[in-house]
Symmetry: C2
């Protein structure tokens, strides 16, 4: 089969189209013929940082497609089923938390090929209201947003949520999901264009990343902050967080280290809840939630399979609003 | 009535015995004749930091005694009832968290007097198995420990808990409660004497505060950390915390600022949960828990009412293991 393979060179320059072996699914596995796949920042990190460049890897954590073959012992799944793929492998529950976390697309081969082989527990029925492109870009970011908002953030209707770095995949799902759940939503971005797009998507209030947030909020406080920016904005969080407020962190694009005042934390009973991906149960709950509220991914741009390098260039430039996808 | 009053001078030098007005309880209030009261670090902080030294304050958040008078509209409480006092006033629930937090003993007059007047909702039946001295020192620290371990820390039987700074009131209750809940408990202290006392109280493992904990634990990880030390020990936390581990913070005796690596937090799905005191529901649940497990406060020393200054000197020196109380 043809696949987008990463090898030899760090970064997206190491990407190229190749013909790779197309194996049959083993017992408990399913082969899915990919219709559309989605790009994630995770792919960029792997391409930049992996040390085993002698090995070829088919990246890609997001995808949707049609079941092409099933291994032994696979029940309730037939060739021809239209499915969406859950990207989290080996998630063991301890207090609703992962014990081991392994994600489709590295080290195991992912969705940037004509076929992908996954455990049968990793596929769910594709929501019928979504196009192939929409289903293909949904999984990882929507799952991360769902877990961040609901499992970790315990968002309640009527609460005020602040979402940093709007335009990114997870942040954009978080905006749509929080509005669907009846929350008031404020978003931040450095880009005026992205702030305007967020207002069109239903944000109640927008803030420039480098402005004084507490001033713009006019003393209004937020109950929940969903953040993937880290260092550059963290110092503003404790100023705008209401008593018993929660910060849910799933990334740190501007820097990894933050300084915290413990007394500010405990006088206000704050919580900092770090999160990553989600479980199979959360994936199913997320699919039900988006279907019930008819939430559609915001598609930034869809590229043909062959133009994966250009697709990643756009993501690296940080210009997108919403998801970037590949069409097979 | 006679009371230990703080005024004029910052610190425990400002304490003296005085005769103060003894008012009748208003509607909804109860007057309790104090039998024993407990000292807390909170009292020291207030004496050091309050700016309104022109006002006389009767400190004291912990106490137990006999109902001496009841105001209008108070039901189910009679003169002569033996009661224990819940020190948290004005706790409004939002997600099980306080909206406003006001604590007996400052700015409202507290338990270091012959009588204290509290809302009738602040008293509970004194557990019969406790002496007056034990009941008098129990409330604030046991409530804080209970909320830290169970409401915030979600401790489960079989988990491994690390409690820093053993010897302090809250830490000592946390040790006894965690053992009663079926957890494995490791404690830390700078003092070898306190580490030995902790072993006698049931701690499974002890660590010197300044040793390399991950080495001593031989790779063993903890699920929950209960901390009030802050800066001096915080850098060790992320090294010994198991995946999905929680840090519950209720103090910062060594310093307020800590630096956190966000990626370490979210790769491991860690939580930092700050806490302070507890609600009336938690106070009742704590009383039931200690009664069921026959947990008795560790009494460091009981001083006569008149020797409150000496009692605080001992607390300031940090020499105590467990609670320091006053007997009326």
């Amino acid at each position: 089969m043809r696949a987008i393979v990463h090898k030899q060179v760090n970064g997206s320059e190491g990407l190229c189209m190749h013909t790779v072996a197309n194996r049959r699914p083993n017992a408990g596995e399913v082969s899915v013929r990919i219709q559309a796949a989605g790009l994630n920042h995770r792919d960029l990190f792997i391409m930049k940082e992996r040390g085993d460049l002698d090995k070829s890897v088919v990246l890609g954590s997001d995808g949707a497609g049609i079941v092409a073959a099933v291994g032994k012992g696979v029940e309730h799944i037939q060739v021809g089923d239209e499915v969406i793929i859950h990207p989290t492998l080996n998630w063991t529950r301890t207090n609703e938390m992962p014990e081991i976390l392994d994600i489709l697309g590295y080290p195991s081969d992912g969705t940037f090929g004509e076929y992908v082989i996954v455990p049968f527990t990793s596929i769910e029925k594709k929501p019928a209201y979504l196009t192939w492109e929409e289903a293909g870009v949904l999984p990882l970011a929507a799952l991360t947003a769902y877990r961040a908002l609901f499992t970790r953030g315990q968002l309640k209707s009527g609460e005020h949520v602040l979402i940093t770095g709007i335009g990114g995949g997870v942040a954009t799902y978080a905006l749509m999901m929080a509005k669907a759940a009846g929350a008031k939503v404020t978003v931040t971005s450095r880009s005026e264009e992205k702030r305007l797009q967020a207002l069109r998507l239903g944000a109640d209030h927008v803030l420039a990343s480098d402005s004084a947030w507490s001033k713009s909020l006019q003393g209004g406080k937020v109950n929940l902050i969903i953040d993937s920016i880290g260092t550059a904005v963290f110092s503003q969080f404790l100023q705008v967080l209401a008593s018993a407020g929660r910060i849910v962190q799933f990334g740190r694009s501007s820097g990894d280290k933050v300084e915290i005042s413990l007394s500010t934390m405990f006088r206000n009973q704050f919580s900092m809840l770090a999160t990553s991906m989600g479980s199979a149960e959360e994936f199913r709950a997320m699919l039900q939630f988006v279907e019930r509220h008819r939430i559609r991914p915001v598609i930034d741009r869809i590229y043909p399979f062959e133009q994966a390098v250009q697709a990643f260039k756009r993501m690296e430039a940080g210009e997108q609003f919403g998801n970037i996808g590949l069409k097979m």
